[in-house]
């Protein structure tokens, strides 16, 4: 099964690929001339098989979100290449970018911040359609309502503002917006962390359903190795701006090569066992 799976993906060329990607942030403290640099990405080599779910894990501040933003071309890397559907795209013109953007969509880590608080739910979901001139007028609204239903939100709430929704509902709103343009590649930055377990499960099921329906490719960013262990086809591990390990999930989980991966896995197991003993002790 595992070999089959690997082989299936290996036959096709990567949908998205990063080669030698580097990004450095220079930050200046206020009222001071001193500045310091943060190497958020260091020579990142990374590829994503089509119609797969790749999980990107790593400790906080390891550069996951930065990599995601670079892949979504929301930020320019300092060096390196980004390939999408067999083309180098990191130096695309505005025109090429406009054609490319609908194919790559991203759901942001901070769902409250990524939704304009002044917009209604329907306006939020309709924004990509409006921008890309896919629909207009009344069709825009009805399409937005369809999308709300698709992610399990009642269209009755179309006129509510984002702050009236709960965290999980906002997450769905953000996902509905991201799939509005029917992208080929969807990046989900911590879209399920911070939610309660049943909501997590609902959203994951939703994502898997969507994948079946639209043959999506996912990049799922997460802290949570336990969760990743259940649904990912591939796993990539980041540490301090580098991808330190990458491969099919079972392989990585069963036989971690990099010590950082081992540490991460060990900490998950430790947590689980602690949790069990705590439960046992409580009983």
């Amino acid at each position: 099964m595992r070999i089959e799976e690997t082989a299936r993906h290996a036959l096709k060329p990567a949908l998205a690929k990063a080669a030698g990607l580097s990004k450095r942030y220079v930050q200046r403290a206020p009222f001071s001339y001193k500045s310091f640099v943060i190497d958020a990405l260091v020579d990142v080599e990374f590829d994503i098989a089509p119609a797969s779910l790749t999980a990107l894990v790593g400790e906080s501040g390891s550069g996951k979100s930065t990599l995601a933003r670079c892949l979504a071309m929301l930020e320019k890397a300092d060096r390196g290449e980004i390939w999408f559907e067999g083309k180098e795209v990191s130096r695309s013109s505005d025109r090429e970018l406009k054609a490319l953007r609908p194919k790559i969509q991203m759901v942001f880590q901070d769902s409250a911040g990524a939704l304009n608080p002044g917009f209604t739910a329907a306006q939020i979901i309709a924004e990509p359609l409006e921008v890309q001139r896919r629909e207009s007028g009344a069709r825009l609204h009805s399409r937005a309502c369809e999308l709300m239903e698709e992610v399990g939100l009642s269209p009755n709430w179309a006129d509510r503002r984002p702050l009236e929704f709960s965290g999980g509902q906002r997450q769905r709103l953000a996902i509905a917006r991201a799939i509005a343009l029917k992208p080929a590649f969807l990046i989900l930055d911590e879209s399920v962390s911070g939610l309660d377990l049943s909501t997590q499960a609902q959203i994951l099921n939703l994502l898997l359903d969507l994948q079946k329906a639209h043959s999506l490719t996912y990049l799922l960013i997460s802290h949570d190795l336990g969760l990743v262990g259940q649904i990912a086809d591939f796993v990539a591990v980041m540490q301090q701006g580098k991808i330190v390990e990458q491969g099919p999930r079972r392989e990585v989980f069963a036989n971690p090569r990099h010590h950082h991966t081992r540490e991460l896995l060990a900490s998950v197991r430790l947590l689980r066992s602690n949790f069990r003993t705590a439960q046992a002790g409580g009983r």
Partner: protein, 343 residues
């Protein structure tokens, strides 16, 4: 709740004042330019309810002023005949906003008596009518100049905040320059570079342009700050991800945040600019006779004898203060509202 009532009251006062000044022709009993050489510096008319025979009248009436025989520009009431105050009377023809022609006035008295609510000036012109008509000039100047300032401020602030880099840097230096200069000095300086002897209409628009251009700096700086913080929001990045253009982002995500500041600034700037127009006209650099504005009405007081003897020549100042007070109240209310919103 009480706060809300206050805002509503202030707003209603402002609307009523503006409406009254817009309808100057209807509210003012006389043509502001009509002179009565026999009645220079007549004091405000007094209203009476009880006549000389001790009869009480429900409808107030007035007496005509006559020159006191021994005095100079001193008047007394001619008690011989009562002139009841009438409403919706026919009088000199006027147009409102250049559209509606009419000759019906809100109030008036039968001739030959004249009703001088705020006295008359040195040419015997009715000062109340002059204040109403002058208000049109002063308010229009304030509103138009505010429009110019806000437009320029919005333009510069948006470009500066949105595109940043050297544009921002140089625009903000220019803002600093304009903010550091005492505005009246700058106003006079700019005015002095412009031609002096031009038609009143030209003067008016030049004045508006000058006042409006000088005040662009503060709104520009405020708008820039808001644009800067708005464009750093995650939802703007998200919008870029859908392929949104700069103009779309500005229009949909950035501009709506500036409305609050623009509104507060407007409420602060309008009275300031009205005062600026009044000041310039007072100094003889603005709108000049025969067109009246609150500034050149007040300029009468520059003559020592007028200042010393005819207190009613201060009436335009009262109008100015009431308008300023109304705007100030509204500005405060909007400001408080915005602050409570942001918390």
């Amino acid at each position: 709740m009480r706060k809300k009532q206050k805002i509503v009251a202030a707003l209603m006062l402002l609307v009523a004042l503006h409406l009254a000044i817009l309808l100057a022709g209807f509210i003012a009993p006389y043509n502001p330019a009509t002179q009565n050489r026999d009645f220079p510096f007549v004091p405000p008319t007094r209203f009476h309810f009880a006549d000389a025979r001790g009869h009480f009248h429900l409808r107030p009436f007035i007496y005509q002023w006559t020159v006191r025989p021994e005095g100079f520009n001193e008047y007394e009431e001619a008690r011989g005949r009562e002139y009841p105050v009438q409403f919706f009377v026919r009088g000199p023809e006027y147009t409102i906003a250049g559209l509606v022609r009419s000759d019906v006035h809100l109030f008036g008295v039968e001739g030959p008596a004249r009703i001088f609510l705020a006295g008359s000036d040195g040419f015997g012109r009715d000062q109340f009518s002059r204040i109403m008509y002058g208000g049109q000039i002063s308010l229009a100047a304030g509103l138009l100049a505010t429009g110019i300032s806000l437009f320029l401020g919005l333009l510069v602030g948006c470009i500066s905040g949105f595109y940043g880099s050297w544009i921002d840097e140089s625009a903000m230096r220019l803002v600093e320059l304009f903010l550091v200069l005492p505005w009246l000095y700058l106003l006079l300086a700019v005015r002095s570079f412009l031609p002096l002897h031009i038609s009143p209409t030209q003067t008016f628009f030049l004045l508006v342009a000058v006042i409006g251009t000088i005040g662009w700096a503060r709104p520009a700086r405020l708008v820039r700050g808001i644009v800067l913080s708005a464009k750093g929001r995650k939802y703007v990045t998200a919008s870029r991800g859908f392929g949104a253009t700069d103009s779309y982002i500005l229009r949909r995500h950035v501009l709506p945040h500036t409305y609050g500041v623009l509104l507060t600034q407007a409420a602060l700037l309008v009275p300031q600019y009205i005062v600026a127009e009044v000041t310039l006209s007072f100094l003889g650099l603005g709108v000049s006779e025969p067109v009246s504005s609150w500034g050149n009405l007040l300029a009468n007081l520059q003559q020592y004898n007028v200042l010393a003897s005819y207190w009613w020549m201060f009436a335009p100042a009262l109008a100015l203060v009431i308008i300023s007070l109304g705007y100030l109240k509204v500005a405060n209310a909007i400001h408080e509202r915005l602050q409570s919103d942001s918390i």
